[in-house]
Symmetry: D2
Subunit: 174 residues, 4 copies
């Protein structure tokens, strides 16, 4: 059989490359044909690749009292480009609330992406908000000028904003 291996990180010094080679050897021993498909060859930056924009991102998150992520759901998870950005900072997130707005063409509004992202946010030392706003049927949700058609979203979003404001860490007076 032909069973390729996807090497899932492009990071400098990645230990996963050794593992991929071991897996490759074992697949061959089992009589299979294989090759390593390397994410590095597919044009995405690697996570943690140095960039001036990362410095800028960290500065903004450090300043922030909280963060709202607006994102579609891709195959029940979060987009790769979002995850790469989130993974590029760490200490800067500490103790800050994260709210999530899901966006979808269909009716679920990104509900499963929200769940996966909440687990990431906890590991980042953030406080995941209980409220979440799911913008479903987004193809028909805005008029030609970009104004939202369903006014109920204002109230739903207000609940999320209120929760974020109530959970934001107190700033020290200087």
């Amino acid at each position: 059989m032909y069973i390729p291996i996807i090497l899932g990180t492009g990071r400098e010094g990645r230990a996963s490359e050794k593992v991929a080679k071991f897996v490759s050897d074992q697949l061959s021993l089992s009589g299979n044909i294989t090759e390593i498909i390397d994410v590095r060859d597919h044009g995405a930056r690697a996570t943690w690749e140095p960039s001036p924009m990362t410095v800028e991102y960290k500065r903004k998150i450090k300043e922030a009292d909280g963060v709202i992520v607006v994102s579609p759901e891709y195959n029940h998870g979060y987009p790769g480009e979002l995850k790469m950005l989130l993974d590029s900072a760490y200490d800067e997130y500490f103790g800050k609330p994260m709210g999530i707005c899901g966006v979808s063409i269909g009716i679920l509004g990104g509900a499963r992406m929200i769940e996966q992202l909440r687990l990431v946010s906890i590991e980042l030392h953030m406080i995941p908000m209980r409220e979440a706003v799911m913008f479903s049927n987004v193809g028909k949700l805005f008029d030609d000028k970009g104004a939202i058609i369903d006014p109920s979203y204002g109230d739903r979003l207000k609940k999320l904003i209120d929760e974020i404001m109530s959970r934001a860490p107190k700033k020290q007076a200087v």
Copy 2:
């Protein structure tokens, strides 16, 4: 408060941009300072951005009888560059088994990344394997020549390979 919005997709024609602007307006109405942090400005390719490599990737997946992903866990999820690659194909995955090998410096071996990725694989019409190999303590797992030190991994990986081979879709005789 200062509550920036992370716009989580760089995709051409993204509806999430309209949602992000709506969220921005509402944050301002609530008396907060905000701005949109756009993943496009942070150097990753956008998911579904055309690339010659995507054609190549789709061709390989279409040929494959099954796939093994080897990946570390980043903040309890999968690396962004891996997700971007996985999201770049769709029909080509149909009915094929996906095995996952997690890699970690610590003892958990990517167990939580494996769970998140399994849910993605189901949506891609793949068959998630019950076996998974967790390469933990990877910093000490290989010798200077890249040979694995703990021989038990051979047997564990064999179980995964066997499961993949037993679940691979039958090819039509031509």
Copy 3:
């Protein structure tokens, strides 16, 4: 502070009881008041408590070519009584497809319960189906005689049934 401990298994011989006592001691050392709230005192059977019905359940699952679970979502997860039943068998599930129908008063139709349950089904050696049917707005979905009002559910369910039938393990001729 008063920080009670919930001991989450009622199983005979549970090791978690020792851990709970250790946690209790450490909470006291930190100057907190605590006590152990034991699920055994709250009337549910313990998982794996012997029962004649378990024998019956295992027999049915062993006979089955596949299984469909119909369930609501409770607080983003599966109902406890469902999990207890699923956990009461193991070998009998091997290689069989599991389909899931979610039920909800709201619009999401149990989408998050479905994700959590899929991960359980993989560990049970089952094949999670890609199709899932989400019965949303269930309060208005059936007429007084129990007939479904929205005819589109027939087609959606058909896709799930077809997938189960195509994934069912071949029976050996005798």
Copy 4:
């Protein structure tokens, strides 16, 4: 084929029963043999079944400044008896930190159960802690007198307790 339906809630007035009957009809129409396996027939209490102990549980949770759950992982999820207890309260959890200690015979210490339970805790309006303690290899972790053998768990647990204490809602002076 024989495809039984598992009806996953025992709750009084369950809408899922109507859905299960609809699924049963459709399975028959597709030429399958089916029957409904009802969790009510398998001895667990139904979630939300009234009980004097529930009143007691709610009272304790209302008093609590935070909660620690100690639990094993069953098939990558939480035990059913734990979920039934957690689902029996709601308002009483509001804004309180939940810490989780996982327990396992193997090396993972319940890491996947912890992730599923965190998502439940968010829906319960609790604050999931970033720290978690995974008691792995629990069969060898305690001596004959029930004392823990590995002293490092004290420090790990201390971090969790500290996080809970720092996140507990401020009580109003009376």
